[in-house]
């Protein structure tokens, strides 16, 4: 506990934000030499951080048909040309999502969503009123493909009771649906591996295939965590803490990767 308190002091001193902890935790989920399908925003920041630290040979794919880009300007979305810069291959869905993801050679797929539930199912399609009326949102795009096919799926969302409900309002991208195995569901990929939020890292490595706590971010209390999670969460004792970004990681994030704090608010 002494060390955690020391870390908290350091965190406070260096003003480490929840986004910085999230993105560093996400970076730690990729290994050198792997191939990742990333979206814009935190996943891309995480992969760039990984590349500049422990995973220089990480390959990044964008679903629209971009491989291993090195942008110099921040993009507003996946369709923003800023993200295409200095890529080594421009192709299309059929290459990235087809001949890579569907072929089974994508190690890690990052997705976001409106909701993620206890089985790691993700909703990016719609929300429902109290009376059941549906309000459509963006839909799947490549999300369902990534969730169905990547060897490890990492979901990045902000923590909150409505963001992490017991069951998603619409099952866009399957995790371990009803706790069933991926094989049983007919799916190829390994399914949800981590849910990374601004409060904690959740995992699914248990017989019930439900989200369980992997680590809690420094500065968060167990009570806060449970209050903000829409499903029961088993809390190990002692509670593992998410490692803080190292000084070098912080420097890279702040000075080189997202100095304008576009994504690391």
């Amino acid at each position: 506990m002494a060390s955690i308190s020391a870390e908290l002091q350091e965190q406070a001193a260096s003003g480490i934000t929840a986004s910085e902890i999230m993105v560093t935790a996400a970076a730690h989920e990729v290994r050198d030499g792997e191939t990742a399908v990333v979206g814009i925003g935190l996943p891309q920041v995480a992969c760039v951080l990984a590349r500049q630290t422990h995973a220089p040979r990480l390959s990044m794919l964008l679903e629209i048909g971009v491989a291993d880009m090195s942008p110099v300007d921040i993009a507003v979305g996946l369709a923003d040309s800023r993200i295409f810069y200095r890529a080594t291959c421009w192709s299309g869905f059929l290459d990235t999502l087809g001949m890579n993801l569907h072929r089974g050679v994508v190690d890690v797929g990052f997705i976001g969503g409106l909701e993620v539930d206890r089985f790691g199912n993700v909703n990016t399609t719609l929300t429902k009123d109290a009376d059941g009326k549906e309000h459509y949102f963006n839909g799947s795009a490549g999300g369902n493909d990534v969730a169905s096919l990547a060897n490890r799926v990492v979901v990045i969302v902000r923590h909150g009771k409505r963001k992490l409900p017991d069951a998603v309002a619409y099952l866009t991208s399957p995790g371990f649906v009803n706790g069933r195995s991926r094989r049983d569901l007919g799916l190829r990929g390994g399914g949800p591996h981590r849910v990374i939020t601004d409060m904690a890292v959740l995992g699914f490595d248990n017989p019930s295939r439900t989200a369980s706590l992997v680590s809690m971010h420094p500065g968060i209390t167990v009570e806060q965590l449970l209050d903000n999670t829409g499903f029961p969460l088993e809390i190990p004792n002692p509670v593992p803490m998410t490692p803080l970004p190292s000084k070098e990681e912080l420097r890279l994030l702040r000075e080189e990767i997202d100095p304008g704090k576009m994504y690391l608010r």
């Binding site: 369709a79 040309s81 295409f84 421009w90 569907h102 839909g139 795009a141 099952l171 799916l187």
Partner: protein
């Protein structure tokens, strides 16, 4: 030799009501805005639209009330917000919507382009899209097994749109097209169409194409018509030509929040201008186009 280069008005006149049009934009990139505007001016009705990831062109057409059905993988205006006209139409049951995923659309177009009437895919299984479509659209997909391995698949029906429309930076008058930057599902989408219409920023001599024929993504002999319209995708971007126009996209993202303001937008920017040149004047003309013009090094 008859020229394929035609005006957008002439091309759109040849498209009957009820057609299935495959659109080639992605969110706020390479949307065939000049084409969408003209379809709205000519009030082509009960259209089916298909697209991997919908953007402004599709939102405009749905917002104009011309669309009965969409077959799509997803859609948004990136950070400028959701495709609100489309979402409103889905919410209200005003359109039939076959919602799947980016790869499902790419596979469907691939099958269509190859002339195979179905293709197996591992996406969609165990999702709510599958659950809904299995009953609502059994002619679009169904469950099946590999005859060799017994593995579970979704069998997607090949998609063969009546008309495919693709917005490209470079084409010659025969329709040979180059695309700079990523191509999402354009190659399959283009070749899946029974008719293929190209909107190009630049019209180049065939000799230019012959210098680097490996760049030709769509061979000219498949193309029925070439519409030459600089800044034809405004306010969406064309990599290598110009950036998206953030000011206008913000304006649009405000307008499409309500049907009333959307109608006003259509009056002001679609019905008002006689053609795309007048539209371009309305949104800032030469000065604005110069501001969003791409830098040579970056392509945006």
């Amino acid at each position: 030799m008859p020229d394929k280069v035609k005006s957008v008005a002439e091309v759109v006149r040849s498209i009957p009501d009820g057609s299935h049009i495959a659109l080639g934009g992605f969110a706020i990139a390479r949307n065939a805005i000049v084409f969408a505007h003209e379809v709205i001016r000519q009030q082509k009705k009960t259209l089916t639209l298909s697209q991997g990831v919908m953007g402004m062109e599709t939102d405009l057409l749905v917002g104009a009330g011309l669309v009965s059905k969409i077959i799509v993988g997803g859609g948004s205006l990136d950070r400028f917000g959701p495709v609100r006209c489309i979402n409103r139409a889905r919410d209200n049951g005003a359109i039939v919507h076959i919602d799947s995923s980016s790869l499902s659309l790419a596979f469907g177009y691939l099958a269509g382009a190859l002339g195979i009437s179905f293709i197996p895919i591992k996406s969609l299984l165990a999702s709510e899209m599958m659950e809904r479509l299995e009953t609502a659209a059994p002619d679009y997909l169904r469950r099946g097994k590999c005859p060799f391995t017994g593995e579970d698949f979704v069998f997607l029906r090949g998609i063969t749109p009546d008309v495919s429309v693709v917005h490209v930076p470079i084409a010659d008058s025969n329709g040979n097209c180059w695309i700079h930057g990523p191509r999402w599902e354009n190659e399959e989408q283009a070749k899946a169409g029974k008719r293929l219409i190209v909107v190009t920023e630049e019209l180049v001599p065939t000799e230019y194409i012959q210098r680097e024929p490996e760049r030709t993504v769509i061979p000219g002999h498949r193309v029925e018509a070439v519409i030459h319209q600089p800044f034809g995708a405004h306010p969406t971007s064309v990599f290598g030509c110009y950036d998206y126009d953030a000011e206008h996209l913000k304006l649009y993202a405000e307008c499409h929040k309500t049907p009333e303001r959307m109608n006003q937008y259509l009056q002001d920017y679609v019905f008002g201008p006689r053609d795309h040149w007048e539209y371009l004047e309305k949104v800032g003309g030469l000065r604005r186009m110069n501001e969003i013009k791409a830098e040579a090094i970056f392509g945006y």
